[in-house]
Symmetry: D3
């Protein structure tokens, strides 16, 4: 039994491989770059452009794949969402497909696009959006550098953006958001009905999400005198019970807890002034709650 899994080639490739490695799957591309080896005999990995993965998952050429909601929608792919995976090179924000025009353009909102020319990589999504808003415009496929086409070549573009900064740099103004998109592990419907494949996919999802969660968490350990225990516990996050173990032959206890990395900044000074000693922070590879 093998699960055929499509992973994105290109800008997400490196971070996808790192995520899988952290989850326990070593993917190595040495021999043939589009069909990499992986240290799990139950997996067959295929690298391809993120734009194409949902189509091949939909058609069953792949059992499952990783791509964005944007391309799932553009391909009209009827697939099962197994897990949302929040990882990217720069931010944890979803990517947005926005319609943008030149800063100085007369076009103020979507209705002004009637009769205009719009360039985009996602022609289907854009046409559907415009139709839903009662707009008739010419939507043309853009082979690249979409953001520099306004206003010399087209009147507007529908472009993917994470922070909007590239649009600002090109003196563009956003007039509408067509879609918000995050990365999805998604499966073919027939493959999902196969018990072995579904269990394999769910197991992969747990490991990937455990790896992603671990990136935002750290382990904290500290020694605390018993009489300061209540105070220290009140500083730690309430939700989860910390592990407390008594130290042999002493009036001290050791406390260990998993916390959000971003909270540590504020917590450590408070813990120290509350009487904790020998506070250490250590990194985690996976966290499964």
């Amino acid at each position: 039994m093998k699960l055929r899994l499509g992973l994105p080639k290109g800008s997400l490739e490196e971070s996808t491989f790192q995520l899988f490695k952290q989850a326990g799957f070593n993917i190595s591309t040495s021999s043939r770059s589009y069909y990499p080896a992986v240290n799990d005999p139950e997996l067959e990995i295929l690298l391809m452009r993120a734009q194409e993965i949902p189509r091949y998952v939909h058609e069953g050429v792949l059992d499952a794949g990783i791509s964005g909601l944007d391309w799932i929608t553009e391909n009209n792919a009827d697939v099962v969402e197994v897990a949302e995976l929040l990882y990217s090179k720069r931010t944890s924000n979803p990517v947005r497909l926005v319609i943008a025009v030149a800063e100085s353009s007369d076009i103020k909102d979507v209705s002004d696009l009637n009769g205009k020319r719009v360039a985009t990589e996602l022609v289907n999504v854009t046409e559907k959006y415009l139709k839903e808003h009662g707009v008739t415009a010419s939507v043309e496929f853009s082979w690249g550098a979409t953001e520099v086409k306004v206003p010399k070549l087209v009147d507007a573009i529908a472009d993917l953006t994470e922070t909007g900064s590239s649009l600002v740099a090109n003196k563009l103004r956003i007039i509408a958001t067509v879609l918000e998109s995050t990365t999805k592990l998604h499966a073919n419907r027939t493959a999902w009905e196969d018990p072995w494949k579904r269990e394999k996919l769910q197991s992969i999802a747990v490991l990937l999400q455990g790896a992603l969660l671990a990136r935002t968490k750290v382990g904290l350990k500290m020694n605390v005198p018993e009489d300061a225990l209540d105070k220290i516990l009140s500083i730690l996050p309430a939700m989860k019970q910390p592990s407390i173990s008594r130290l042999v032959g002493s009036e001290w206890v050791a406390i260990e807890v998993i916390v959000d990395e971003v909270q540590v900044r504020d917590m450590i000074p408070a813990l120290k002034s509350g009487g904790a000693q020998d506070i250490i922070e250590y990194p985690l590879s996976k966290v499964i709650p």
Copy 2:
């Protein structure tokens, strides 16, 4: 008056700039990379993907552009061919759009493609070709790495190739040639009717072709005693009259001639043994016959 000219971004970009520089136009991309500066106030250069240029020329957004016959055809662009420009990074062969299958495939010729799946960047050209050959197949747009999709993802591909070596390396077998394509300077039909634009385009064509011709030619000069003149002239190419000038105060003449670089290898030993002396070869920047 300005002529709006689209030049290809990407793999041909550097060699296109070098050709224009040799022809007398310095294009510099320092300020904004898609709208470079050029030292000719009558020109406005726009860089874009070669795939898109014919469409924008056809529609009149550009007056003229440089792209391949492949993309002119794929875009159904009704444009005027001003000049054929034979330059590329590796060979002077035309690029071919070929249909290829796995070496071990049962598919032997185009008729075997009935009911199969074909991936290609040139969907329109491929569909038209298959229809003309009475074949019904599913032609899907490929976002890249087309040559590794056979046989795992599709049955055949229609892919551009210069030497075929990448196809061989991926263990593919060519079963048909859909199209041969060379690079074209092509113009919008309306722009071509404008006398100023037509003259400007013809002037650019003369300079570009003069630059390309100079890449295959060299200048040869030599001194020859008068009595060896006939013999030497019989070695030189017959087509063009060489320039012969008498040297002051001597029995020698100087001969100067423009020849194909590739002929020089065989010509120089013959000239030397024929009595020519002080043979020099010098490089040329433009040759206009």
Copy 3:
């Protein structure tokens, strides 16, 4: 409330960002490279040359900054030292400002510099030092490559060096040390009087120092039979009490201790022969004693 913090651009930039990341502050330079984003709304980061930071801290344009004692002194900056931060690319040695001459020079000590020409990036520090030693010399600002100026352009240089190897390679001889310098988190005097800013700075200092300390420490765990406990404890560093916890349903205890990484080399063979089993070493991100 915002704390305005100047960080060094250039050779220390990457290692400074890594240190802040380990301390819990993600600095990203994607949008505008001199005013990077940071995941702490209470911080505003400005990147600038280390040479300038103390001046701007002194004048109050910045609340605090990170730079060396060398440049604090050169700028005559009257600032508060919040923390010493020992990090650099190669060694943990302080950097020294030394006066060097050609190996073959007659100049033997500082007093021989009378009437000579000295090139340096730190003109003020060098002039003050020479004056204190009763030497009158011409000290000129060097724009770079100071170490190659001797003896063709100047008689001596005052140059920063970590290991002295670049001076040796240029056949220079050190005759005096003007200054030893380490990296300092330093604050403007007025900002330091502001309770919020002082607390924020102290908190940053704790986290940065906790991160730096963790780089020299590791966590060790091992299982020990109860009757070997005393022997094992005698091998571990005496200063800190290790955490000892009894394993459920066994005659073994688990020992956990934080030690200097450099001691582990010698400790592990001793622990093993002392009866410890399952010794593991794990990395730490922060250590706050």
Copy 4:
């Protein structure tokens, strides 16, 4: 007392330095690249080609070195094997010295090599092997690019390969395996008789192997209700007793165990469904069983 240790320059250099760093020895090559500094005053490191190290160890110029069995054998080096170290850039497979011919060659096995020409970097090993198989062939030293010499320059090659993929890419067929080789820490026989050097070498071996073992292991911690303890223990590997400690004031115990990273994929879903909570995985730097 100093131990003089030869480490391989070139393709293994970076991974060797990383391994030593993880084992506690920081090697820095800043000053002179072939005699790097190391943070252990008892060590003197010399970098040289792996091919030469066994010769210098054999002759006593080095006390010990790291190189492959292949080059130990080629050099006829009579040395002590201190430890096998399984690390390399791509796989953990041993490297093999294989004899290969062109795919289309008539040569089917070693006996067909009589009177043929064989190119190899390991002339001695290859000649000895052929002689043992009763074959008389001309074995010549190859300065590089051995795999492209068949069939134009020689009839066969004896070449080192890890996966065989480079041989396949050059259309070669393997007809015999001469040698399997792994990386060895090996010592000069006289040095090994010196008690201080032997102890130092054994200590280095323990640390290097502890570092290598840690690369395949991870730490797992989880909280388990007491009544689920037996079930959870049955999922964990049987060989080693996990550390179990009771949590203060609760019916839960904390379990900590070191497991193979490759097992974690299967273990985590089982642990979770068995009742374990707050499962975390953390990385290890050294594991000494």
Copy 5:
């Protein structure tokens, strides 16, 4: 006899070496990078920062150097200008030292700078300019990245710019031009009085300027029937007499002329339609009028 010549290290270094090579001086930096070898035993080349060269020329440590008028002025260097050399990486425009403020600043002209803070690399030039305009401002030395300091760190900057595009990108507005600067070959006054050094410098100047002039010129040759000679001559530039030589045994003459490269674009179509044949353009290395 040796002439000691300072050449700029850094951004101008490569183009300076290319210019000297074209002028006949091969400078190679292989042995020691600041004191390169040159194939002229009468020259000693020293590389240093352009900012320092005029100071060392002024003081006589160098006989001559190449630097900009900006740094000659900043150093108050009393030197002899031997030649102006118009070469740079991007344009042939002079570089300008401009005062710039934030686009949104209230500062409109120089008089508004009273009491403000100005950062610049050229402190002396800027202070002198402000004083001449009756302005009292604090001018501080900037160690780099001057253009990002407005408005957070200073009110205005005095910065060097070739095209102004970097200022625009940083949202700055130019309010005054302090200085226009071109590159100068300049000499120490005493060295200039030495006949040998003066002649050597003048010879270098002729060769460098001959090389620079050749960059804007090309050679044109063509064959012309005698009866078209007048027409063709009327198309060629009037200033210089072209070389006309009669071809042996024919009614044709060969014309050869040196013209501005930028004129060739327009000239070639006219020459061709005027009856010229076999027009060739060839490159030049030096042009001395």
Copy 6:
């Protein structure tokens, strides 16, 4: 008929290809890197290490090759020297094989090497040299970085050097020169007896040498009034008659001459003051005297 020619892979590869290109042979390595294509159907090019080429030429596997006298000698290759080719990356000096010891060594000349250990890449040449000098030493093959082996690993080295600067940088002292070596086009003795191959090789030699000669020569043209002709001719090199042609309808003559580039520096000022005008220098691709 094909000539099988071995060209050096590695440090000379790029400059060899450039030389062949200038000589009229375009070698392109795109398809398979060790058997490149060439635009001459009579040539088959094989790339290999320079060390091996003479051996394969000697044995007749190659008809001819390009390598140094050093490796011809080391291989005891009995070959025909067709042409000496003086080209290299840095200087036109021959490379020398020198014996070097540590600066501080007691070894003063070759006779002191008795009983010492010498590392070298050219074992045969070195052993023969030492034997001729009556010295018995252990000569061992060095796999690389030979110059850093003294004095830790060996007593002396025999190393190739162009300028000696790398030896100086490693604090070595040259005690003897074993061999001077230049690059040779050399042929197999049997191939040389074949008339077609010999003629082909001689033709290649003429073209390569014509290309090399052109690198040291330039073309000069100038216009001279008839009455200054004698003076100008006296400045030009006496050996070769310059081409003098009368300009139509004027009292001027045009002079054209090929001169050494290195002479131009001194000639141009003299020509100008002698009355020559419109002096131009142009580059040459081949010069066959």
